[in-house]
Amino acid sequence: MDTIDKTPKTKLLKKGAEASLFLTEWHGRKAIIKVRIPKRYRPAELDQQIRSYRTVHEPQLMHEAKAAGVATPLIYMVNVAESTIIMQYIEGERVKEMLNKTQKSDLRDICFQIGESVASLHKYGLIHGDLTTSNMIQSPNGKIYFIDFGLGEKSSEIEAQGVDLHLLKRALQSTHFASWEECFKSVQCGYSSVRGVELAEKVYEKIREIERRGRYVEERKQ
């Protein structure tokens, strides 16, 4: 089995909350090594469980996402024992940074496209689990890649789909507070266009229900 080459070619790109990303070369291709680092704050046993589970599931879901028609990086290698995944490096910019400097009409197009992709995942029975604009990369040709499926799952339940979209809405609210309403409206348009208005409405109704479950929510009935 190939082992991970931590030669001088490997450079720390980003230290995220859950994993560190290293830039490397994989048989002549620019690649990312994603290492899920042990978390000292939780018991080793629980930590190992969580990291292995996510390391196994993430590549599977990314692979299936492609079948659903959603762009994701190619997986080159997985090492469960070390909680590492080597995958294709995607050139481009994170949607998080891009959205805040994009003009209104383009904003709508991008969000529409995001909505279409999320709908395609859901239609195929996939839940991303962490839909934030940090987990989407726009490549120079305009295509949006979805990354970070570590919290994803396979499910066709309206409940799971509702939570998935609710998370995206929350991410837009906290990170893009100036334009989130417009952004989310466009996401919904894109989503409805793929899933059909009737089914999409059921998911939106579920979002409202999920929001009402929250402890302090104005919409909740007294």
Binding site: Y41, G214, Y216
Partner: protein
Amino acid sequence: MVKVHQKSEGSYCLGIESTADDFGVGVATFDGEVLANKSDSYIPAEGGIHPREAARHHAEVADTVLQDALSKSGVKASELTCIAFSQGPGLGPSLRTGATVARALASYLEIPLVGVNHSVAHIEIGKLQTGAKDPVTLYASGGNTMVTAFESGRYRVFGETLDIALGNCLDVFAREAGLKHKKGLPLGAAIEQLALKSGRLISLPYVVKGMDLSLSGLVTAATTALQKGDCTLEDVCYSLQEHAFSMVTEVTERALAHTEKKEVLLTGGVAANKRLQAMLKVIAEEHDAKFSVVPLQYATDNGAMIAWTGTLAYRHGLVTPIDQSMVKLRWRVDKVDVPWIQ
């Protein structure tokens, strides 16, 4: 809220807290000195908080707590600049009792009333007492579990529970396990003590969804595990804490990585838990951030935090006319402008 002109020389604010089971009165100076912080808790004979019973308790003790706080502070009622009260979020009957006391005082003394958001107050007292300036805050109590950070004029919610609060999760399990709330030993503290006697991790659901988390399934699973009987109460308490705290810590770490702030603040009633403190300290260290935890007397609901936040709002011209002082049961933290932060 409406804007008025301000004054601040030799000023004191009296704050009234009554969102749930605690009735508290605090007095703070405009410079951030807490002169008094008194409270009285409603302890249910059995089960959780009965809102009407809690309100009855608050009405009974209001007079005594108020007088205790004033005499402790050494400030005469006639010297007060304004009266602050927690306007929400919380339980209706409890909130209304505190609001009634606040309105009566403000009208009698003919001084302004300042409605304060309870969640904002927990963050502000944490910052005041620890010196934190711009932290990612985990506010965890019986009624709230959220990860917030200041961004463009408001405290934004980066992660929160999708169902029950962390303190509620521990309390419900404790009651299911037959533990009783005693004076000076809240149910959460009882669980913490039992957890220390075990190191055996049983498998429970670990539900993190993006930046949010879900705790209701965890309580059910923990209760079922206890009823099955192949593990001890101590084992379940330990496992419940490890799972629930790991989840909130993971979410806090995500917010920390996302916002790239350099401080982590733990506030709210569950902040008293040493195990939770230890977990957050680890992630703060890993991200080169400073970790602070609110002192115990300001962790649970208290009047001082309302008084202090009242001074901040008042100084920025935010007062609440009586006819706009109705309580807001579901007043989210991210709906409140905080003009005192630049």
